[in-house]
Assembly symmetry: C2
Homo-oligomer: 319 residues x 2
Amino acid sequence: MPIFATRPAASVASLGEQRLIGHVRRWLGDTSPRAPFGIGDDCAVLPPARRAQLVTTDPVIYGRHFDAGVPARQVGAKLLKRNLSDIAAMGGRPVAAVISLALAPETSHAWLRSFYLGLAATARHYRMQIVGGDITEAPAGFFGAFLTLQGEAGGRHIVTRSGARAGDRIYVTGRLGGSRLGGHYRFIPRLREGAWLAGRPEVRAMMDLSDGLAKDIGSLTGPGLTPALCAPAIPVSPAARRLARRTGREPLAHALCDGEDYELLFVVRGRSAPAAFEAAWRRRFPRTPLTRIGLFAPLGQPWAGALDLAPYHGYEHLR
Amino acid sequence: MPIFATRPAASVASLGEQRLIGHVRRWLGDTSPRAPFGIGDDCAVLPPARRAQLVTTDPVIYGRHFDAGVPARQVGAKLLKRNLSDIAAMGGRPVAAVISLALAPETSHAWLRSFYLGLAATARHYRMQIVGGDITEAPAGFFGAFLTLQGEAGGRHIVTRSGARAGDRIYVTGRLGGSRLGGHYRFIPRLREGAWLAGRPEVRAMMDLSDGLAKDIGSLTGPGLTPALCAPAIPVSPAARRLARRTGREPLAHALCDGEDYELLFVVRGRSAPAAFEAAWRRRFPRTPLTRIGLFAPLGQPWAGALDLAPYHGYEHLR
């Protein structure tokens, strides 16, 4: 189904704003409460929050995050899942989202319906609400959906990106690379895993992988530290191997650089017992791979045989 | 200062994402707390909220909400003020915002700096914080900034758009129309007024005027009601009169239809004493005009001499 309609009658412009908003409410259905708790007043009203709150914002833009080949439902689902992955990375629970659309007048009504149905199905699955938004006309050929997601802290503490120390072990969930073969629509945000990790006292720092391990590991690497990763331990996905056969690059390069893995990268206190931690993980998440991929070494004391990350660049935006 | 640079070295693309984010942090300065309470982690962390929360989202898009003639600082200020006006309309207090940018790679670094300085100055003035965001590359020629603002309920109760009854009086702050002569950058969100009104038991419903009185009044008009407005009472701004001399339309049409007034439109219980309410207003806000412009009549019982709104259309988006 094309995102932009060729017949004016099939475009959102033929509806006008008021009727379009009425449609959006129906498409969102029970995931959108009545005003003032949902769409329809100057602000959405949310109840007081007893726990610390988490806020994140990520968009999907046509031509950048998706193209004409991607079903609209998957685009709507991905918009929310990208943001859910950020909540997962701090061990939180999602609560409510608002979505600001900027769309060309020729945007297809049918495409937008599928987009919202995908968004609503995902919101329902994660037991959260879409409480408001805005729709604004954009120049021809443009479609962007900008979502802001609010969550609440899940466990005993919020796990941030800082806190790693020398000797701490580095772990990653799932398998990395090759997401452009479809994985960046099919991924499942690691909310349950993130919440469990936030309740474990040995977990010191965490983030989700969006720009590739080689780049993202830098965000966990505090001053005075250097990551010492073990190349053979990096969990390379089957998709990365398939992609490598096409591109002629090594599979490891795809695992390190591709981006959009949406797996959790986290750091466990060096003086804890790895076997007990890993056994507890396997009992709780028997189907989610967990891999110890290295440790943080003191800067200037490189680990013999550690992977040299310099030749690998993660995804750099605006380049 | 042009929004898009002609020399590549003057564009944001020449910086790359990481350095650009570093600049943004410096431009925001003390309005953006350190991670995880501000920019730099997967989510921003906000403290628990004891009161009901308010959430709203509104963008500014190049070519739609502003053009090349508007100083970048005013664009940044307007982005926040549009959202502040929504918080004001429910009697709330602003707390924290996140901003998602979609910008063409050729966006001027110097222009973006002024935009953020305008945003930061406004945030500082209203004692609120910019806690996070996202920057994504957009197609050539596009600049959009999508802000989500979180606030908290201010007074005893939250004033919504619903609640008007037959016999209730309709009031508006300020003077209406002609905002395109510059008023839609210079306006002051009515936060103090909104908070005061939310504390008055006789105020039943409220909204801010963004699409013009003739259209927006519909949002306060509950089932079984019709607005009976007194044409000579509508406070027509000097800008609307100046604009009318250019357009050849009547000044009242500009006051009813222009949009972007960002004044408060609200409804006061019919059985309260108007003189006491209006006197209390003048004591509290001696410099903010307050005008009683009509009342809500029962549907089917039109008020003799009431303004017929049918010929006036407010701003309809996506048309």
